[in-house]
């Protein structure tokens, strides 16, 4: 995924609106999605040389509508009959400047609802998280299959199959495109936010591969979360999620050194942090906290903001962070929260208290396949001066991670403890 040019930005903004309008009118998400991809491709080829049409959205709708009719014509006789009923000749899109669709598609509620409806459909609970991610990136994000494949470092054919299976599943599940009900179903909105958060994390700390982060995926997650926030400005958790992403991504430039090696938070050069992103995240958070029920994304954003506010690592307000982890443990308990809380406990009450808290995770099956428990334990053991045990933990964590820069970082930490720098207490 390369940095999009202005035409691509425009296309990606229109992609969900055009697809939403088409699906709302004709149903058949999969056929409409193919048709919109064709229209986007045509625009990407023609607009840069011929100029952007006066009514770009109407243009895209017309071309996509034609592609849909062509696909139907090529299909079975039964499908053809449906197409003829669905598309009355008087209603057929004509010239590229046809205003039939454009007039109906006044910017406003229709776009808002179409895009929301699409997001809810792509994040359908019947789909696996990788399918939800791929489908959201293509249908709502307007990315090509090749761009998505590059983002996940997998062959294009894999993503193409994943998307077509996802569309098949949506059809099998009998899921229909529908305007989001009011009030919004909380469970479905939670899944949408989870998909966006997963997209962000996949880009921020890739679960596998040679690079520590893939900024294109995080940028896309932020763009889509911005969109969701614009559509649902009163949802406190959506605002919290956007603030969390901005406040976390702000540290990106400082997370690795020139050779690609990980730099831990405490050692990062804070002048490399993105001050504008931090300011924006803080502003969103300040205008959100207290306006709705507190949730995990708002609390995590508040924790990220406290880190970002500290001029240096020693100035970090750890007691406040520990208190926020206490809140997080009540709203969204889980082993990863306990792990992060242990780090805050170490700063406030010392490494031994933190090791006691970590011990409660030893029997947690959810932690058996992650290196994070061992990596945190290693750092804490090093702080207590138990060099031998710390080294064992670093080496164990290095064996468990599938991220190469993380593995190198852990191997190096272990190697530094080969000869104790200070005698064990």
């Amino acid at each position: 995924m390369t940095r999009p040019r202005p035409v691509e930005d425009l296309l990606r903004e229109f992609a969900p609106q055009v697809l939403g309008a088409l699906v709302r009118r004709h149903g058949q998400f999969d056929a409409c999605e193919d048709a919109v991809q064709e229209a986007l491709l045509a625009a990407a080829l023609r607009w840069p040389t011929e100029g952007v049409p006066d009514r770009p959205r109407a243009w895209l709708l017309t071309v996509a509508g034609r592609a849909l009719v062509d696909a139907w014509r090529a299909d079975s006789a039964r499908r053809r009959r449906e197409a003829i009923t669905a598309l009355d000749p008087a209603d057929q899109p004509g010239a590229a400047d046809d205003s039939t669709y454009g007039d109906r598609l006044d910017p406003g509620d229709a776009d808002r609802d179409d895009t929301l409806g699409l997001l809810f459909l792509c994040c359908h609970p019947a789909l696996s998280p990788p399918s939800q991610l791929a489908l959201t990136l293509r249908a709502v994000g307007g990315l090509t299959t090749a761009e998505i494949a590059a983002g996940f470092l997998v062959p294009e054919a894999t993503i193409a199959k994943r998307i077509s299976r996802a569309k098949q599943r949506i059809r099998d599940a009998g899921a229909r495109f529908e305007l989001p009900a009011q009030p919004l179903p909380r469970g479905r909105l939670a899944v949408v936010m989870q998909v966006l958060y997963l997209m962000f994390n996949e880009g921020y700390t890739t679960s596998s591969g040679p690079a520590l982060q893939r900024p294109d995926l995080t940028a896309e997650a932020i763009r889509l979360t911005r969109l969701l926030h614009r559509l649902l400005p009163d949802e406190a958790e959506v605002a919290g999620l956007l603030a969390l992403m901005l406040l976390t991504d702000a540290r990106r430039a400082a997370r690795a050194d020139a050779t690609g090696r990980i730099v831990p938070l405490a050692e990062q050069q804070r002048e490399l942090w993105d001050a504008a992103a931090i300011a924006e995240g803080q502003a969103i958070l300040a205008s959100t906290l207290g306006t709705g029920p507190i949730g995990q994304y708002q609390v995590q954003a508040a924790i990220a903001a406290l880190h970002d506010e500290a001029p240096d690592a020693r100035a970090t307000d750890w007691p406040q962070i520990l208190a926020l982890y206490g809140v997080l443990t009540t709203v969204a308990p889980g082993p990863i929260v306990t792990l992060s809380r242990a780090v805050a406990v170490a700063h406030v009450h010392g490494p031994r208290a933190a090791l006691d808290l970590l011990a409660t995770l030893d029997s947690d099956e959810r932690m058996t396949h992650t290196h994070r428990l061992e990596a945190v334990r290693a750092h804490l053991l090093e702080q207590t001066g138990d060099i031998v045990a710390a080294r064992e933990s670093y080496l164990q964590a290095a064996k468990m991670t599938a991220n190469l820069p993380e593995q190198r970082y852990l191997e190096l930490r272990a190697a530094r403890l080969r000869q104790p720098a200070r005698p064990p207490r």
Partner: protein, 116 residues
């Protein structure tokens, strides 16, 4: 194809931090060079063998169990697939072995094209 084996990990555990950092740098530099020169077709590092599972045929059905099939020190740890002649492949492997003092295997990949 140049293959690295799991024993290398164990052999590096007792080295100094400078040595370990130097090895990481050598591997990253060589990998970048081979990709930039177009000689490298593919390269991957595999997760530690402790993360492996082996599927065995037991009691009339395939059964997955934890752990690698081979001894850890013989287990594949990573590879480069290069489009080079054998001399060049041996030269590249020698650069790494000169530093790590741990053996690597160099082997041709079968030709898929039908012979006339």
């Amino acid at each position: 194809m140049i293959m690295m084996f799991g024993g290398l990990g164990a052999a590096t555990q007792d080295r100094s931090p400078e040595w370990v950092a130097g090895m990481h740098e050598l591997m990253m530099k060589l990998d970048t060079e081979l990709k930039e020169s177009g000689e490298c077709v593919a390269s991957e590092a595999l997760a530690n063998p402790s993360q492996a599972k082996t599927v065995r045929f037991e009691g009339g059905a395939p059964v997955p169990t934890d752990g690698p099939f081979a001894e850890v020190k013989e287990s594949l740890a990573g590879y480069w697939i290069l489009e080079v002649d054998q001399d060049r492949a041996l030269q590249i492997a020698s650069q790494v072995v000169a530093y790590t003092e741990y053996p690597m295997e160099v082997r041709p990949i079968m030709d898929h094209s039908a012979q006339p």
